[in-house]
């Protein structure tokens, strides 16, 4: 578009006495020719279609969570006649969603902190320090990206079970332990975290870290007070990405959290769905679904700006 604008501008006389050349109206208003209009319509149309595909089911689930079971069965597509808050109460207490919600929060607060801490530290060293084996360590991390979860599932189960037998730390680990699940999450999200953040740390100007070294920073201080704040956009978007990943994790907790009280939200919803199959409490299921959705939506809305900044990777020169 900008090239078209400059072109038309070039053709205009610069007050040197030449009569203005006739310029077709299409040239004068670039970007809205029939071809461009069709493309922008297709663009907009596709985006609209995609938005509907993603939001309508969400909207339907939300609306359904406010209906009574009777309403839902007779008119699944209609609007609710009133706000049936009892669905949420039933989901929260009777179906134990409250407990599962808490479990999810406990596990994720541990797993996310550890992932971001270790991931950024590892990535920083791999990106900024030259030592023998640097590339090898990096490629080992990257190789983790291609490992499917299901392949690791069985050995992981045995490893986690064995950790429970360890002296001293055994009671904190093993099956049905928050810490075990958090550590497993950390292990599975480390490859992408290191891969992404290594690239991000490489883009940061080296003179800033040199300036900090000359100002007297130790390596630790350099990392925590200078480099980490500078990498904030990348860290935030990756933390959000990992949050979504951990929050929606189903297979790993299914294997590790077998105890009813220790289950996380995704498992809880699964149980609820299975149970409603017999009791047919559909609206409570939808209420549980909405409860599970809300934190993700809230986090995303809050950090939307940072995520965009992180993905475009702008660093002050």
């Amino acid at each position: 578009m900008s090239t078209t604008t400059t072109m038309t501008h070039d053709h205009e006389p610069d007050g040197n006495g030449q009569p203005p050349r006739p310029v077709s109206p299409r040239r004068r208003t670039p970007g809205v020719g029939p071809g461009e209009r069709a493309i922008s319509f297709l663009n907009g149309g596709f985006l609209l279609f995609w938005a509907l595909v993603t939001t309508l089911p969400l909207l339907w689930a939300m609306l359904s969570s406010f209906k009574t079971n009777g309403e839902f069965r007779t008119d699944p597509m209609g609007l609710p006649s009133g706000l049936e808050w009892d669905n949420f109460a039933r989901a929260w207490s009777a179906a134990n969603i409250g407990q599962y919600f808490l479990n999810s929060i406990i596990v994720i607060s541990m797993s996310l902190t550890l992932t971001m801490l270790f991931g950024s530290m590892g990535a920083y060293v791999l990106a900024r320090y030259d030592f023998p084996g640097n590339r090898l360590v990096y490629y080992v991390f990257v190789a983790g990206l291609v490992l499917p979860v299901f392949l690791a599932l069985v050995p992981m189960f045995f490893v986690v079970r064995e950790t429970g037998e360890l002296p001293l730390i055994g009671p904190m680990l093993g099956l049905n332990s928050y810490l075990s699940l958090a550590l497993v999450y950390v292990a599975f999200s480390m490859p992408f975290t290191v891969f992404f953040l290594t690239a991000f740390f490489r883009t940061l100007p080296s003179s800033v870290s040199e300036a900090a070294i000359m100002d007297g920073c130790s390596h630790f201080r350099l990392f925590f007070t200078i480099m980490l704040p500078m990498a904030k956009p990348g860290i935030v978007s990756l933390a959000l990405f990992n949050f979504l990943g951990h929050w929606n994790q189903y297979v790993l907790p299914l294997v590790i959290m077998q105890d009813g009280d220790k289950r996380v939200l995704a498992q809880g919803l699964g149980t609820l769905a299975a149970n409603t199959g017999f009791r047919a409490d559909w609206t409570a299921l939808f209420a549980g679904l909405v409860i599970a959705l809300l934190p993700v939506l809230i986090v995303y809305i809050l950090f939307q700006k940072q995520v965009q900044a992180g993905l475009t990777g702008g660093v002050l020169k």
Binding site: V208, E210, A211, I213, M214, D215, G216, K232, L316, K317
Partner: protein
């Protein structure tokens, strides 16, 4: 405040044979403003970074005052550096940027504040102290970078092309500011630039480097008047010196139709090194138009271009005559450049014969490139 001494300091980058800095012997006096200058890749930045401790010293030593700092980490060297792209901490305010080193050193808060304020007043930054770097203009960022160095009250300032990111006009004014600031503070300063005008205008002394080897250190005027070798002669001065290799014929330097008188002391030096050629340089202002009938002396030139600057006019031309091709081949510079009276400048295409003002030729050995003093 202290002197800085490079004692045969050498830096060889891993995986390379040629040293980036080769046996550098250099002493910077207490309170002196020394400029390291040279074309890109000459080792000037590496020399500075060796002094900063950001680059290892492979052999030799570096001393600040009497202290050998060769293997001391940067923070213990009592130096401050201004980087080319300023390297400000983007997430800290101007005040925090300037006080960061003091904060790490554990200086009391009140003292940090006092020193930051002092430097901010000096640099006209008081109203920007609470801003982040990205809300500042290029010139202001440059001053913050200076402030960060000043606040530390170091023994030595290191500056790595601090003006190269500024626009031309700001560069000239900042140049004088930095030079006068340095004189006021009296702190020993090592300044790196590739711009020889910056070097000439700012430095107490200028150190010319080429391929990691020190060529000459002296005051700007001494470099201009008595370049130690052909490289310095061609590098210092703008427009550049005219340099060409002449044959010695009958006690005169001859190149095609061009001929330049040579003192006997130079002639005997040339014959002493068993050579029949001599490299001669003359600055554009040393050339004067000569009448063509002065006994065959002078350099005939066809004018290609005349640069009229108002106070001066520079003539850019190429040698003319039957041996022109050979003359061009033997020239080190691309054109013959002469300064002429702006009101009497020749026109493009004119043929002018120039003579070198007596005593203003520079003679260099054609073999070694070293200066031959007449």
């Amino acid at each position: 405040m202290a002197t800085v001494t490079y004692d045969k300091a050498t830096r060889i980058y891993p995986g390379q044979d040629a040293p980036a800095v080769d046996n550098l012997d250099l002493t910077v006096e207490d309170g002196e403003f020394l400029v390291l200058v040279g074309p890109s890749g000459c080792g000037k930045s590496t020399s500075l970074r060796m002094l900063a401790g950001l680059e290892e010293v492979d052999t030799g030593a570096i001393r600040i005052g009497d202290r050998d700092v060769t293997h001391i980490p940067p923070k213990d060297r009592d130096i401050a550096m201004v980087f080319q792209n300023y390297a400000l901490y983007p997430h800290m305010t101007v005040a925090a940027n300037m006080g960061f080193a003091l904060k790490i050193a554990g200086t009391p808060k009140a003292e940090i504040q006092r020193r930051v304020m002092e430097a901010a007043k000096l640099l006209d930054l008081v109203e920007y102290l609470d801003r982040k770097p990205k809300a500042l203009s290029g010139g202001q960022r440059q001053r913050v970078a200076m402030g960060r160095a000043i606040v530390r009250e170091p023994q030595v300032f290191l500056m790595d092309e601090p003006l190269s990111n500024l626009d031309a006009k700001l560069r000239v004014s900042t140049r004088t500011q930095i030079a006068s600031l340095q004189r006021r503070l009296g702190i020993t300063t090592v300044y790196v630039t590739h711009d020889q005008i910056e070097a000439m205008t700012m430095g107490d002394r200028v150190c010319v480097l080429k391929d990691g080897v020190l060529q000459q250190v002296n005051t700007p005027l001494a470099l201009y008047d008595k370049p130690a070798n052909v490289f310095v002669a061609g590098f210092i001065g703008s427009p550049a010196m005219n340099i060409a290799t002449f044959d010695i014929v009958d006690g005169k330097a001859q190149l095609g139709e061009a001929s330049v008188p040579v003192p006997t002391s130079v002639l005997s030096a040339v014959s002493a090194e068993d050579s029949s050629t001599l490299t001669i340089g003359f600055r554009p202002e040393s050339l004067v138009p000569a009448s063509s009938d002065n006994g065959g002396g002078g350099i005939p030139v066809t004018v290609d271009l005349v640069e009229e600057l108002g106070a001066d006019a520079y003539v850019y031309g190429h040698p003319t005559g039957p041996a022109a091709a050979e003359q061009v081949e033997r020239m080190r510079s691309e054109a013959v450049i002469a300064r002429v009276e702006p009101r009497m400048a020749p026109n493009k295409g004119d043929k002018v014969v120039f003579a070198v003002r007596e005593g203003e030729s520079h003679f260099f050995s054609a073999k070694t490139g070293e200066r031959i003093e007449p």
